[in-house]
Symmetry: C2
Subunit: 155 residues, 2 copies
DNA sequence: TTATAATATGTCGCATACGATATAATCGCT
DNA sequence: AGCGATTATATCGTATGCGACATATTATAA
């Protein structure tokens, strides 16, 4: 019959496992799944945690500057930053010189999180099962990939 | 004063650019941004496209089997598959032998998409600016990373 | 056999991401 | 000075992902 239960047509030479995009896609989910339960102790989501890493390094950024570092736009960041503000980890305040800009400042509470984050970062680092050298190389390679993809179509 | 405009405290040795998780996170977004406008012609989102790649390779999978290949759960897949069904790219039907299972079958319309997808895949492949060898190596490395992260905590 | 456990899928709430669009502030040009 | 263009942020709608939970079907065991 035409619609037997077991007809699995091998239709193409395209196998998902050979797609770089899928490797990145699924690895990103895997990171999320490792981080998420660890970050619950800090009341942070994984994207929020990444934003906090930036702020721990450089405080008092505008929303746009933060977005530049995260490769995210303000329509994504604004709601996230409002949640971080509700948690009292950051403050959002209009810049006095240019009222269009909103500056993000860590609160004391937000700054204190950094110590607890270190343990989590170490845990995840060990979960990757990579040597420092290999990890650094992957960071460079994947960063270059991101750059190529972002520059795609640019002059 | 305590709250000058320009106080940017260099607070830590943690730089976002050195995080493997962020490299993966931002590369994933970059892939999404390259694919998304190309996929609009097919009325597919990027995750939908990835699911279709699996179905083009192996038809008549259950929701669970598809999820196993995508590393996604049914609570994510069910709504997506309903949208693909609404687009008439797939059909969802309960398995006669085991009524718990839902089998996903490509429609003719869905099968036809594959030809158009090839061009898009080629475009993105060239946007990565990687040689075949390098790309294959990255796929292996990132796949191994995903595997390590997924196995984290298992016996 | 029949109550209970296990399995497969689905629903709901929440938090991203992003395109399209809105709003407000500043800039640039005359 | 003033007005149109630009810039910075925010709002809205849609589509993921996932935890928690609900439902239905099948398997298992007393």
């Amino acid at each position: 019959m035409a619609s037997s239960q077991n007809d699995r047509s091998e239709g193409s030479g395209l196998k998902l496992d050979e797609f770089l995009c899928f490797a990145v896609y699924s690895a990103n989910h895997a990171f999320n799944r490792v981080y998420q339960p660890l970050l619950q102790k800090l009341n942070l989501t994984y994207p929020q945690f990444i934003a906090m890493i930036v702020l721990w390094t450089e405080d008092n950024l505008t929303v746009g500057e933060l977005g530049g570092k995260l490769f995210l736009q303000t329509n994504t960041l604004t709601p996230m930053l409002k949640r971080l503000e509700a948690l009292e980890y950051i403050e959002r305040r209009r810049d006095g010189t240019d009222e269009r800009q909103v500056r993000i400042k860590l609160t004391t509470k937000g700054r204190k999180l950094q110590a607890k984050a270190s343990d989590i970062i170490c845990s995840v680092r060990s979960a990757t099962e990579l040597e420092d050298k290999q990890m650094a190389q992957m960071v460079r390679d994947i960063g270059a990939l991101r750059h190529s993809l972002a520059g795609h179509g640019r002059s």
